[in-house]
Symmetry: C2
Subunit: 274 residues, 2 copies
Amino acid sequence: MLTPAEDAQTALLLEAGTQKPGNVGPTRDFDDTTFHQFLVGAVGARRGFDAVGSGEKGAEKDVSVGEVFLRSVRGASAHEGGNTQFGAVLLLAPLVVASARGGVEDAPEVAKETTPEDAARFYEAFDHVDVYVGDVDDEYDYDVRDPEARERVVEDGVTLYDVMEESAARDGVAREWTDGFPRTFHAASKLETVRGDTREAVRSAYVDLLREEPDSLVAERRGTEKAREVTRMARELPPDELDARLADERINPGTTADIVAGAVFVALRRGWSV
Amino acid sequence: MLTPAEDAQTALLLEAGTQKPGNVGPTRDFDDTTFHQFLVGAVGARRGFDAVGSGEKGAEKDVSVGEVFLRSVRGASAHEGGNTQFGAVLLLAPLVVASARGGVEDAPEVAKETTPEDAARFYEAFDHVDVYVGDVDDEYDYDVRDPEARERVVEDGVTLYDVMEESAARDGVAREWTDGFPRTFHAASKLETVRGDTREAVRSAYVDLLREEPDSLVAERRGTEKAREVTRMARELPPDELDARLADERINPGTTADIVAGAVFVALRRGWSV
């Protein structure tokens, strides 16, 4: 039995180590970020995961979600490429903390109980990685690109959960936080039923998620119409053809990949084996 | 800068995460062992690596090579497949301990200073993984398949270095131990000169090693003539063709892959970046 920290790292590796349509993976590097850099990112991300306890009674450390996230993002930047695991680690942080405290199913409560200090750690993480940030409402007082925002969130008592609520409308990972991780848990349940071919299991989980809902990273970068088109393509094309088409158009459904990483973690915690 | 433990795990991942002729990798699973199982093995192997210190002054823990090896082998068995990292971890253990104590270049001394207790840990590791063991001289008193051998090595004062000397004639990793890790350090020096395409760098390091010397795992399993033939093929065929030929004949040059993992670790310690 692996610890929550080890399972979280395994989740990042199985996600990266499965060729999923449009993503960097075993058979594809992007110009700015390679498969090997995703592997190094998974090594470094362990720094945050290791801050939580072993999940055994009496062994837990009370490390906050924001601190786990920040340490993981800093660690995952130990390569020369672009952002590799920001979204996946944002999704994993409450899941890992919940696992270490008692059970992964408590992640929705862990998310709700985050504090303004967690929010400050979240904002600090943007110093360590070049994350794509789409359009933010001009009226929003806590834009991550504003260096003073991290002080204001603490002063104003804005929690990390509040920040996620603000971006839930346009970010699929934030929506998992505010909706109780429904897609993560659902995809995990499907993964658990598959024994044997783990590559096919992970790829199927990804394609199923992509068929259900437009990817929010694609929507932010290429517009909602393109994101809807990708969902249609995922429904109509065989996965290999989908992969070729997305690669041609340089479309990377990154949020869907993040949810897959979370789903693999949940499945592993529930006993899914590789 | 990653720690020795993090670099050791990175080395296992970059080795596994590069498609090298004949090996399990990004584009190939074996019937009994998959690429994903190599990834899980690299997660578990970290348990041994984490037992050494950070490499910073005053932070080092004095954990023995045998203990690091045993914990890594036990951790790396956390999947349902066959042996994934036994040889690589045997090579990495003295390199990681040397790095944590002061510098990777001291690995030859670290290997020489191993004790009978290290040998006992080595024999114990065979309980945790199904490792291929070839013909052992009937006269040899410390056959790993003999359950009492691990007690006898301690009683008789046989060190892990002595055990490696005994098997150096037929095992390429043991020969690295007794010869001062010459192929590991040489391959690392070549890796260090390559910036950018790390997949190509790792694959080239592997093919170069295979061209120089017959692989000892192939020799043990398929005979020395076949191992020599593989070396000739490596010299004559383009890597992709070599890969296809070895895959067809189910020939896996596993010792050469182990040395690549060691070389990647040394290169990373010397500042090679991904």
